[in-house]
């Protein structure tokens, strides 16, 4: 039986998304709908992608190819908080590499990994368009600028507290 969790839980948002595009161009909604899938399931699950395909009237394979192409669609579960540190050229010129060394040490994991409690994933990413405020990162896509070890300690403490 076809899963329809997205339709049941997010129907108003689905309608809002579809309304942005011409009725005969529902495929344009694939990307915003995949974000909904990710919010609901934590990553782009097969069920979720099948549902997007049904809503857009296209083949599930086509949805999978879109999810596979764009780097922000997760193919597996990540930590509750995803810390993404830019380590592109401008950021490293301002010390991003040493900052990542510190972050790895603080969290006890390497970039690309998730803490054992499943709370925090640390990754390096390509340019995030905030080179003037490096070292910088995003935590679940919210910007954090001018990072220092002290600021990172505060940030991690705050993330841990949020769950208590």
């Amino acid at each position: 039986m076809l899963n329809s969790m997205l339709k049941e839980k997010r129907s108003a948002e689905i309608e809002q998304i579809l309304a942005k595009y011409p009725p005969e161009r529902k495929r344009s909604a694939v990307m915003p709908l995949l974000y909904l899938v990710q919010e609901e399931y934590g990553y782009c699950t097969d069920d979720g992608m099948r549902e997007v395909a049904e809503i857009c009237g296209i083949d599930p394979t086509e949805v999978k190819s879109v999810a596979g192409f764009y780097s922000m669609y997760r193919k597996h579960a990540a930590g509750k908080y995803v810390i993404e540190v830019c380590d592109d050229l401008p950021c490293v010129l301002r010390g991003a590499d040493k900052f990542i060394d510190y972050a790895e040490q603080k969290l006890g994991i390497k970039a690309g990994e998730t803490t054992q409690d499943g709370k925090i994933t640390l990754t390096t990413v390509m340019c995030l368009a905030a080179c003037d405020r490096a070292p910088m990162c995003q935590v679940n896509l919210n910007y954090h600028y001018d990072l220092t070890p002290e600021k990172f300690d505060q940030l991690v403490d705050e993330l841990k507290k949020r769950d208590e």
């Binding site: 990540a78 401008p90 690309g112 910007y143």
Partner: protein, 447 residues
């Protein structure tokens, strides 16, 4: 040297507090150009004044905006405007500031472009990582609707306009206009064959104008005040003002809005406080990873489209990454190649495979296993990419190799001769990248 614009045209959030709010924006001539156009001008007249202003595309290519708009055929409907806010070039952060802090000016410019060409729908395509600043943009759009500045029958006329935000999901290639359109249609972001150009067959195969955020943010002032007003800044061929994103080894990295053609690279460096490390500046990338690097000896060049050409570089997107004497150009080139290898969309073999092999060669350099034969091989791989790709981004990937070798070949020779590869720092960098690469697709959020 202090910032020379006492009143900004674009970065108006630096002059006017809370200009992101509709009431404040309107109290500062906001939407006056929009009202003037819809109530008293024809679309062709709007195109005319933008043409006369000489405004050139600020995304990188520098194509005259008014001319682009004039290519839209009148008799094919519907038409679309798509705004390129996929800002992903390393070193570029100007559109970020505009949508976050001065979003109404972006919306007004977008609306004016729509009115000029007779479009009734616009999509502002923002990179997915802009989810946070997009909240400001979306609020501004919602407020504009509520105030009757967007929507149906604007200012009592029969002209209606809808503006939507569409979020990308992490793909540099979508800054290429035809890839952006593909992405907006719900497909993977790979460039289309041109012609036909988007002006004839763009979004949903309909006539489409694609402009960068900064380009459109110039338009409200031009429509309200006229082309002569805009031409008070800049040169004959490079009129107006431009935002310079300055990063790297400078004391005050930031966005600087300057009249084109007035200041030199050296002036820009001084405005940004000079070297932050005490070491002299060795070189600058004027348009991020995709641009020909400029050695310090050429810092006398003026900041405009023509002057940058005379020193063998480009104005491009104006993302100025300054690097001091400590920066080894072999390392810097590897960083840039890593970016392009990661971001290659995979459509063309020369770019997809070429960047892969180029990165392998640079990794070999950093690991300390390379010889001068590998430097020659870099040149060979580079030649196999250059001129053989479908879209400009493939070509961009070669700049870091071509121009670091051209201007800093000694860095490569010293790197080999002095055995600089294999240092602890380089080994750690390679390990980190390889570890991330191995985990790609496992615990990956996005990379």
């Amino acid at each position: 040297m202090t910032t020379p614009m006492d009143k900004h045209v674009l970065l108006r959030d630096e002059d006017v507090q809370d200009i992101r709010e509709l009431a404040v924006y309107q109290a500062n001539e906001g939407y006056a150009g929009w009202k003037k156009a819809v109530t008293s001008m024809k679309g062709e007249e709007v195109i005319g004044v933008v043409k006369d202003s000489g405004l050139r595309g600020r995304g990188g290519a520098g194509f005259p905006a008014g001319l682009k708009w004039s290519f839209i055929p009148k008799d094919i409907n519907p038409k679309y405007v798509t705004v390129n806010c996929d800002e992903s070039e390393p070193g570029t952060f100007k559109d970020h500031q505009l949508i976050r802090n001065n979003p109404h000016q972006v919306i007004e410019g977008t609306a004016l472009c729509c009115y000029a060409i007779g479009a009734h729908v616009a999509y502002i395509y923002c990179r997915g990582e802009f989810k946070e600043p997009v909240q400001n943009l979306q609020k501004a759009i919602d407020d504009a609707y509520a105030a009757g500045l967007l929507g149906k029958n604007l200012f009592g006329t029969d002209y209606s306009l809808d503006v939507y935000v569409h979020l990308g999901a992490g793909a540099y290639i979508c800054g290429e206009e035809s890839a952006l359109i593909e992405s907006l249609e719900g497909k993977i972001g790979q460039p289309r064959l041109k012609p036909p150009f988007p002006a004839v067959s763009g979004l949903y195969n309909k006539p489409t104008v694609i402009n960068n955020v900064e380009t459109l943010a110039n338009v409200p002032g031009i429509v309200l005040n006229g082309s002569a007003w805009y031409r008070q800044w800049g040169t004959e061929k490079s009129p107006g003002v431009k935002i310079f994103s300055v990063s790297g080894h400078v004391k005050k990295p930031d966005n600087y809005e300057l009249p084109l053609g007035k200041y030199s690279i050296q002036d820009l460096l001084e405005m940004a406080g000079g070297s932050s490390t005490g070491l002299p500046i060795k070189a600058v990338l004027p348009a991020g990873s995709s641009s020909p690097i400029i050695p310090a000896v050429n810092f006398h060049a003026k900041l405009d489209y023509e002057s940058m050409g005379t020193i063998g570089s480009v104005l491009g997107s104006c993302s100025w990454i300054f690097m001091d004497e400590s920066v080894d150009m072999v390392w810097a080139a590897r960083k840039m190649i890593r970016f392009f290898k990661h971001e290659s969309c995979g459509k063309c073999t020369p770019c997809r495979e070429g960047t892969h092999w180029a990165l392998k060669l640079y990794d070999k350099m950093l690991s300390g296993e390379a010889t001068m034969a590998d430097v020659d091989m870099i040149t060979t791989v580079n030649k196999q990419i250059s001129g053989k790709c479908f879209c400009p981004l493939g070509e961009f990937s070669t700049s870091s190799m071509t121009f670091t070798l051209k201007h800093f070949r000694k860095d490569y020779e010293d790197f080999i001769a002095q055995g600089k590869g294999g240092s602890a720092a380089y080994r750690r960098e390679l390990e980190r990248d390889h570890h991330m690469h191995e985990l790609h697709g496992q615990a990956k959020a996005h990379s």
